[in-house]
């Protein structure tokens, strides 16, 4: 029974990694841009929620809805005025610019909030649990996983059931031909990054509620997000959720064997998938 519990806890933890990864997957899927500042943007989102909680006295669950439009605007402007300039045949400029952005964000957060670790204020909900048979599940991990599933379902609906979703896919296929259809690729890319930062804000809420955070933890979140995206297959949203779950389960199983193996087990699972299926488990057919 302990193993069943371990695996269920791993699946729920995978929801958090899927939330870290969904925005990265969206941006890569639409414009083939690998955003190395993604993890730092999650941390920045957590600080933004913290500021709103502190200044306005809001619950973190309310503050996240205030933060979402702000983060959308930030993402839109970041893409429209900075990252769009780096897109082209050469993959190096976006990597260099987002790497620089990552360092700048970390230093700005250090300057603004110091290196002390912070945590979003918790309440009874964040420590509550439910018992299903002999297994006890935390309400917060359940909420995290449910949010991840909702985000993936929402993104799939957006991509496959809406006009902007068609434009995302068309621009991803061929931006020049998309512009002949009246689509402005620069605006499509900016909208995609704006939506990615809305998802980042949701990830930031759970990051801040479940654990301490400080300005330096962004790169590790980026690695987990990367691994989830690559395990799932680049551009596949459901694959990203599945990738998150694989890392989560590997980590909890690794930790159950030896607590020191938790992080290593997640990375090993990633390497094994990469060896067996280099394009991930559910790659897009036309990638």
């Amino acid at each position: 029974m302990i193993w069943v519990d371990t695996i269920i806890q791993g699946i729920l933890l995978g929801g958090l990694y899927a939330l870290f990864a969904a925005g990265l997957s969206l941006v890569f899927g639409v414009m083939r841009l690998v955003n190395l500042a993604h993890g730092d943007l999650i941390v920045m989102g957590a600080y933004l929620i913290l500021v709103l909680v502190t200044l306005l006295g809001l619950s973190p669950f309310v503050a996240v809805f205030v933060a979402m439009p702000l983060m959308f605007g930030l993402g839109w402007a970041l893409q429209r005025f900075l990252l769009n300039r780096t897109l082209g045949d050469d993959i190096l400029p976006p990597l260099l610019v987002t790497f620089g952005l990552s360092i700048a964000l970390q230093n700005a957060l250090l300057e603004g909030f110091s290196a002390d670790s912070q945590r979003l204020p918790t309440n009874a909900l964040t420590t509550a649990s439910v018992e299903i048979g002999s297994i006890t599940l935390g309400v917060m991990p359940l909420l995290t996983f449910a949010s991840a599933v909702l985000v993936i379902v929402g993104l799939n609906q957006l991509f496959y059931r809406t006009e902007i979703g068609r434009a995302f896919r068309a621009t991803s296929d061929d931006a020049t031909t998309a512009s002949l259809m009246g689509i402005k690729p620069a605006n499509i890319f900016a909208t995609a990054t704006g939506i990615a930062l809305v998802i980042v804000t949701i990830a930031a809420l759970y990051l801040g509620l479940r654990a301490n955070f400080d300005p330096n933890i962004g790169p590790a979140r980026l690695i987990y997000a990367f691994e989830a995206v690559i395990i799932g297959g680049l551009g596949s949203l459901w694959g990203t959720l599945f990738g998150g779950i694989i890392i989560g389960v590997a980590q909890t199983v690794g930790a159950a064997i030896n607590p020191e193996w938790q992080i290593l087990a997640g990375h090993l699972a990633f390497l094994i998938v990469l060896l067996v299926r280099p394009r991930g488990l559910f790659p897009r057919a036309n990638d």
Partner: protein, 235 residues
């Protein structure tokens, strides 16, 4: 009064100059054919008019407005749609989604909508849920034409719509052109197949090495004139 006009249009790919002062004109309700051998500059001319290649503002005029400096999406929004060479369907989209993307971001009014495009090319209605790129070459060309029509353009630019297609399929595609004209679009058809071009065009421009070497109505041009303009007088 011309609907679309190029004046002293030049185009470059890096250091290579592809067009040397091209002047062409398209009148309302007219079909103009651009013929010429490979590398004559026909597709570059289409890319320049459609905004894929940027030019001096005054070098392209639509409805007496300079549009040469505008982007492809702006030019499309003005009412100039293009069927690009090689069809360029979006692989991630189904046939119907490829058609619908032609109306992106605007409510168009006019003859063309999903129903009338399906009436024009009935096979597309049967294949509406297939990926666009899973269709035969001819069917893909029908999707590309339908996609451009969905925006109800005033000017339709068709770049090499018969390229790589079997003669029987080309015939089917060209059968649609009178209906497209009847619905009100003016057209520029780039074509290597001279017979097809002369059959549908009201006027013809022949290009060679980035220049217009001949123009006139199909009736006014002799075989020899066209041969000389197409290949050069020395051939």
């Amino acid at each position: 009064m011309s609907l679309l006009q190029t004046k002293d249009l030049v185009a470059h790919y890096g250091d290579f100059q592809a067009l040397f002062g091209v002047d062409i004109e398209l009148n309302e309700a007219e079909t103009v054919a651009i013929i010429g051998a490979n590398g004559a500059g026909k597709s570059t001319l289409m890319r320049s008019i459609s905004g894929v290649l940027r030019n001096d503002a005054a070098s392209v005029a639509f409805d007496n407005r300079p549009i040469g400096g505008q982007s492809a999406d702006e030019i499309m929004s003005l009412g100039v749609a293009m069927v690009p060479e090689g069809r360029k369907l979006f692989p991630s989209l189904t046939v119907e989604e490829n058609l619908l993307i032609g109306t992106y971001g605007r409510k168009t009014t006019g003859h063309w909508n999903l129903k009338t495009v399906y009436d024009l090319f009935p096979i597309l209605a049967e294949r509406r849920n297939n990926p666009g790129t899973a269709l035969s070459g001819g069917q893909q060309q029908m999707v590309a034409i339908g996609r451009a029509l969905m925006s109800n353009p005033r000017v339709l630019l068709c770049d090499e719509i018969s390229l790589g297609l079997a003669p029987v399929v080309i015939k089917d595609i060209y059968k649609a052109i009178p209906q497209i004209k009847a619905a009100g679009a003016s057209m520029i058809v780039v074509e290597q197949d001279i017979a097809q071009a002369l059959a549908v065009a009201d006027r013809v421009y022949c290009m060679m090495e980035g220049r217009v070497t001949l123009s006139g109505t199909p009736d006014s041009l002799s075989r020899e004139d066209i041969h000389n303009a197409y290949f050069g007088a020395s051939h």
